[in-house]
Amino acid sequence: MDITGSELFVKALREEQVDILFGYPGGQAIDLFDALYGQRDIKVILPRHEQGLIHAADGYARSTGKVGVCLVTSGPGATNLVTGVATANYDSVPLVCFTGQVTTNLIGNDAFQEVDIVGITRNICKYAVTVRNRQDLGKIIKKAFFIARTGKPGVVVVDLPKDIQSAYGEDTYPQTIDVRGYKPSNTVHDGQIKKAIEALNQARKPLFLIGGGVNIAGAGKEMRQLAELTGMPVVTTIMGKGAIPTSHPLYVGNIGIHAGYAANAAISECDVLFSIGTRFNDRITGKTDTFAKNATLIHIDVDPASISRNIAVDIPIVADAKKAIEILLKKSNRLDCKDWLKQIMAWKEAYPLTMKSKGLTPQRIIEEINQSFQSAVVVTDVGQNQLWATQFLELDENRQLLTSGGLGTMGYGFPAAIGAKLGNPQKNVIVICGDGGMQMNIQEMATAVVHELSVIVCILNNGYLGNVRQWQEMFYHKRYSGTCLRYRKRCESDCSKPGKSCPEYTPDFIKLAESYGACGIRVTQAEEIKAALRAAINNLSAPTVIEFIIDPEENVLPIVPPGSPLSEMIMEY
């Protein structure tokens, strides 16, 4: 039986077991929305802006492991997705983004709301394609889901011209697909594993470096077993944090420019660095030619292009993290590294991650969050809030962290939390964000309110774009250029100090939350944190915004100055 392209689109979503779609309609997507009308299998969520929409799909995908699905109209609808496409793709999040497009005969004519979204997103997604023939539609949607979720997951953009949406054609949706140019690695090379084991057996100071790939592969349990079997200490990247419980005796901490001393020292001192699912981003390596300079490097990654790209590797292993760890579990044995572990833990004790200041500090707030939630999805925004969260959050199999690690997208946190809550209605979902990032997608408060999502938003309000301000303080002689959010017209342009006479902050987050129908609580004393969190937990039918008024000049420490080796950390400032 012949059906329209839009009907096949809905059928395809059902076959791909899509239960939630994040959509914003418009002239060139109206047929697709029409086909979604009245059905009950796929819940359509209408965020208030397409950027919020795609971050919500991203948060849904990261927290559930399923593919997030976006549907927007052509032109501005599509271009508003762009930041979210790059954000998700950078962190290997599986998304399929459908964009409406003008009819095929108008493409290239500068038609109303026409934009070449495939051309725009080509370099920031895994695959982008325009459907040009109705008979290819089913095959292309199948291909899109297959590419998004397999190998190193990523974003696929499918551009759907309006005439394809309305054209009649076959109703069949393929069960399988073969893409001749795309064959994700399914095997693990025995010889390379053997070499890795040999290197480990000779090591005196072996160290695991775990990246986001282990979390994406769902290999946390196996990773923990492997660490326990070998007795090797574990450090992580921000994206890998939580791969083994942060309270585990073998866990040292994050490495990188805001890491604790022990983790970075372990990198500098280790003799075998066994890294899994990381691409050695500049934020973790510091100066590359001094990174793990005494070590033999083993690197497992599903993406061959991530191996030996930033750091030269001695033993490369192209494989899915989970499959490789499962094999390692069969072939590894206990290593003699007790003294090494003792040394690292002594460093950790001597130089703990802690904040010197007293009162309502980010550390105190995050520690209260640790104590208040046994199971949770914690979503951060980007900036100091994210760095503090990744320093102090305790994670395990019941507490997951979502953060924009690669692109570092401000405005990510709140909408991603909405997506996470939709995907995990039974779990507590907490956002840790700054006052700057919160304002980038604050319109999504309406989405959270109308869907009765009890997301808990913790705004750490310091009145500044804090991370940039910190760099200005440390490396730019306190020239606070463009970073003060209390600034008003009457202020001097060369201000370098917040004070009592500073103008009032705008907006009033409490009144703003209330105007949306959410609950707002302002916290100014450390003693009020617990009660505020408790009130938020008890507010089950609407979001709660807790605004924490923190020290305007609180810094993230330690810090490795830009371009320096990891060993050169500024511990105090």
């Binding site: 051309g119 080509r122 895994k126 040009r132 001749r180 140019g181 993406d303 292009a305 030996s308 790209r309």
Partner: protein, 161 residues
């Protein structure tokens, strides 16, 4: 740093050339030349790419191309026995009769074909390996002061039998 050759089999679809050239520009890889054309299978296009790079960047380029969905196969021609040819047209202007005689003689010696000429202009065609075409340009500009116009097609290459 050295000159490398790649052969690419890609999907014959709209946008694939942009995908490949976009990959080079977005990663700041230096592309010397790129040619593309259809093959015996109309769903597949074949590209010949020359790159000047060091070993590490070249490895990364191959990996990046291989992970591109539209790329079916990447073959490194750098150390293989291959045949390659580049077409080049040269239009030499403001020629006197003596210039023309010299150019015709030059053409006979250096395997260059005279395609067309009039009173003042000669059009030459050279189909040779890229280096030989470089040499022709060099020799011509050394021997003749005439202004000339060049268009080069980029190399196509195939493995030897």
């Amino acid at each position: 740093m050295k000159k490398r050759w790649l052969c690419l089999f890609v999907e014959n679809e709209i946008g694939v050339l942009a995908r490949i050239s976009g990959l080079f520009s977005s990663k700041s890889y230096n592309l010397d030349s790129l040619t593309v054309g259809t093959t015996e299978d109309e769903t597949i296009s074949r590209m010949t790419i020359s790159i000047y790079s060091d070993d590490q960047i070249f490895e990364q380029i191959k990996k990046q191309l291989n992970r591109t969905v539209e790329v079916i196969k990447v073959i490194d021609y750098t150390d293989l026995s291959i045949y390659s040819r580049e077409i080049m047209f040269l239009k030499i202007k403001k020629c006197t009769e003596a210039d023309k005689t010299g150019i015709f003689r030059f053409a006979q010696v250096y395997n260059v074909k005279v395609l067309d000429f009039n009173k003042t202009t000669v059009l030459l065609e050279c189909v040779q390996v890229e280096n030989e075409n470089d040499k022709v340009i060099k020799l011509l500009s050394e021997r003749f002061d005439n202004p000339f116009e060049i268009i080069r097609g980029g190399s196509v290459a195939i493995e030897a039998v």
